[in-house]
Amino acid sequence: MKILVAVKRVIDYNVQVRVKEDGSGVVTENVKMSTNPPDDNAIEESVKIKESGKAKEVVAVTVGEEKAQETVRKALAVGADRGIHVKTEGIVEPLAVSKILQKIVEKEKPDLVFMGKQAIDDDCNQTGQMLAALLKWPQATFASKIEVKEKSLEVTREVDEGLETIETNIPAIVTCDLRLNEPRYASLPNIMKAKKKSLEQINASDLGVDIKPRIEQIKVEEPPKRKSGIKVKSVEELVQKLKNEAKVI
């Protein structure tokens, strides 16, 4: 079995994101970038499946500008076998990423495609689903537990009501939840070895897919500042204020 795992380079989750003055987007200059956190879970799970002997190869793929390949290198350092970097410039929307991944899937012929449930920058939560539609493959989203069987997967999903367990045929798309596992650290010797692993670079324009943005972004703005709270002396005062000032009860 072969697993393709898709990773995305995003603003690090510890960084306070700042909106550009002209409202055209967020500041990415001088900002620490990292792998999208649930993508780390996707890599971890792929590598675990390989270690259990159920998969033969893990291929990591990313779509993005030149520096995006850092996320593939990181995947290689924690156990992916080789990497693919599809070079793009500017904004690449989920549909475009799905189309690119479709081409990669057709070329690589994996049995499973893993990725994070959503990226923490645009929060779209669409790429996995769109890729499933394009490939006409089954999808298991928000996976928090995965069991690989002969020709199927048993996946536990994090849904609003609790946990839902489904079984799906292989090949399939799986999008991973943060609860799926605890990603390992890259060890120093493995980072060294990763530098020698193959990382193929492909220009998105060579794939023959239309990746033009479909969405027009009108404005990006910061959420309104939260007003500071007040302390009340008694329950009566609280009820009175909720009734008369906040008018919520």
């Binding site: 690090d12 700042r18 620490k32 990292s34 390992r184 120093l188 060294m192």
Partner: protein, 539 residues
């Protein structure tokens, strides 16, 4: 416990200006040398914070064609101001009356973090292996007592010290020479200074705490290339410190404050002094209407030549501000740090190729312009114990008339942790509440640093005696850690009327002030799990 080991010719600890200079110079001398550099930040630059007005002297030597290499060195200093501040008034000091060490024409306003990122790219292109996110946590020794290398931190240890599922053992890095370039108060450098008695016969080291905020200000008030320094208010006459304001590119200003950690009043809060400073009419008028976009703090060296330890020992060198090469009156250390790193590379090459002793470092350093600078600057900082007025008078005579050539050297008498007065002898200080526009609290400030440490790991701020903060410090000094920490790591909380000392180690921004100022040297700063700490951008 056996750990995996990797062999290198040279291992460098720390990706700041000095360590990166050593790495680059080594590869320039001999591209066959195996050079590895460890950096505790999640990327090179993540833990770098500096003013910074950059003198290019050392870079000119290291990479003479730097101007052609797309450096982040862009803003030339075009104008200088020096102000003495009173509470509401200010007096502009003519720049021709400034000692030449404080003149900045030919220098550049830069982000040192970005310069380090750029230096790291140069080093990697030359074949240096750089590993960010890997703190060197332990020094390894050979049987003969010489330094053998370092070990990286184990990853995936829980609060109680047990291995978690994702445990990853640290590894040993062995080298012919290990270079320690951790910056001010490096936690390994501290151990080496003590083990090899490197500071024998030297004055106690002197430190300061430096704050920096980056503001985006109104275009009309922004004068790219303007460098302004102030002395005086809000500090009293006996406290050493001052401010900087550098107008960088993109409508940004680098605004900062440095306070000597030899301050005496335990009620003093360096953070709040900096916040209060911004309310001075001369400062407020510039930042008003602007937006604070970054915050950070870092301890720095102020001891100069009198406190500079021996920089070599068997198997290792101690360079940059891990030793203490900052030129205090010049308020600059990047160029001397880089020079000390270049000399380290030359020394190591001769040591490996010609079997020369590492002690040749001393002579090489003494012959360099970096040493000469430190020598001429040596009397400025110690003169400040006479108070601002006499210090300035003395500095004027020393630096302008005699150009640092007085036939005597003033001494630093006390270590910074010894200077606090007990509460009953100290003045209370009332700091105004932050307004959230010009002045801020610690919580919102720390948020901007992007600092984080995964919560389930051992506390990296270790108390030698866990009772001391409450039993001794609270009563005698109202536990000054609550105030000297720029990140609100230390708190005294009341629980059922019993005072409790709380360490919020996940807030730590790796400034090392606690390790320096704690009156009984009770706090030991050790490396947390790799990648933790601030995520500074263009600091």
């Amino acid at each position: 416990m056996s750990r995996e080991a990797m062999e290198y010719d040279v291992v460098i600890v720390g990706g700041g200006p000095s360590g990166l200079s050593t790495a680059i110079k080594l590869k320039q001398i001999d591209s066959n040398l195996n050079v590895c550099l460890l950096e505790k930040g999640s990327e090179v630059g993540a833990h770098i914070l500096s003013g910074n007005v950059f003198e290019t002297k050392a870079l000119d030597e290291l990479l003479p064609n730097w101007k052609e290499l797309n450096t982040p060195i862009k803003t030339k200093v075009t104008k200088e101001k020096f102000l003495f501040l009173g509470k509401t008034k200010s007096l502009s000091w003519p720049t021709w009356l400034l000692p030449s060490v404080q003149k900045n024409h030919n220098n550049y306003i830069i982000s040192l973090a970005n310069l380090c990122r750029w230096l790291a790219e140069q080093a990697e292109a030359l074949g240096v292996e750089i590993f960010p996110g890997f703190p060197a946590s332990e020094i390894l020794y050979n049987d003969d007592g010489s330094v053998k290398g370092v070990a990286t931190q184990d990853m995936g240890i829980d609060k109680e010290g047990n291995k978690k599922d994702n445990f990853e053992s640290g590894i040993e890095l062995h080298a012919k020479v290990t270079v320690f370039a951790e910056g001010c108060r490096g936690h390994l450098g501290k151990q080496l200074i003590s083990k090899f008695n490197l500071n024998d016969g030297k004055d106690p080291q002197q430190y300061g705490i430096g704050f920096k905020e980056i503001w985006e200000i109104d275009e009309k008030k922004h004068e790219e290339g303007l460098v302004m320094h102030t002395a005086g208010w809000p500090l009293d006459n006996s406290t050493y410190g001052g401010s900087f304001m550098y107008h960088a590119e993109n409508k940004q200003i680098f605004l900062g404050y440095v306070i000597g950690l030899d301050y005496k009043n335990p009620n003093l809060s360096p953070f709040d002094e900096f916040q209060r400073f911004k309310t001075h009419p001369q400062i407020k008028k510039i930042i008003e209407g602007g937006k604070r976009i970054s915050y950070g703090a870092r301890a720095l060296i102020e001891g100069g030549l009198q406190s500079l330890p021996k920089m070599y020992m068997p198997g290792a060198l101690l360079i940059g501000c891990d030793a203490g090469t900052l030129n205090t009156p010049k308020i600059k250390g990047s160029h001397t740090a880089m020079k000390s790193g270049i000399i380290a590379a030359e020394t190591i090459n001769e040591h490996i190729k010609e079997k020369k002793e590492l002690s040749i470092y001393e002579n090489k350093f003494k012959k360099s312009w970096a040493y000469k600078e430190l020598y001429l600057a040596r009397n400025v900082k110690p003169s400040f114990r006479w108070g601002l007025f006499f210090a300035i008078l003395f500095t004027g005579i020393d630096q302008i008339l005699f150009r640092g050539k007085f036939p005597f050297t003033l001494k630093h008498k006390h270590a910074d942790h010894e200077t606090l007065l007990p509460l009953n002898k100290a003045k209370k200080i009332d700091y105004p509440k932050p307004d959230g526009v010009i002045t801020f609290d610690k919580t919102s400030s720390v948020y901007l640093t992007g600092t984080n440490h995964s919560d389930n790991q051992p506390v990296h701020l270790q108390l030698k005696d866990s009772n001391l903060p409450i039993k001794y410090n609270l009563e005698k000094f109202d536990e000054p850690a609550q105030r000297y920490c720029p990140a609100g790591v230390y708190e005294v909380q009341l629980e059922n009327n019993i005072s409790k000392f709380v360490i919020n180690s996940q807030n730590c921004i790796h400034c090392k002030t606690c390790d320096i100022k704690e009156p009984s040297q009770n706090i030991n700063w050790v490396t947390p799990e790799g990648g933790g700490g601030p995520k500074y951008g263009n600091m």
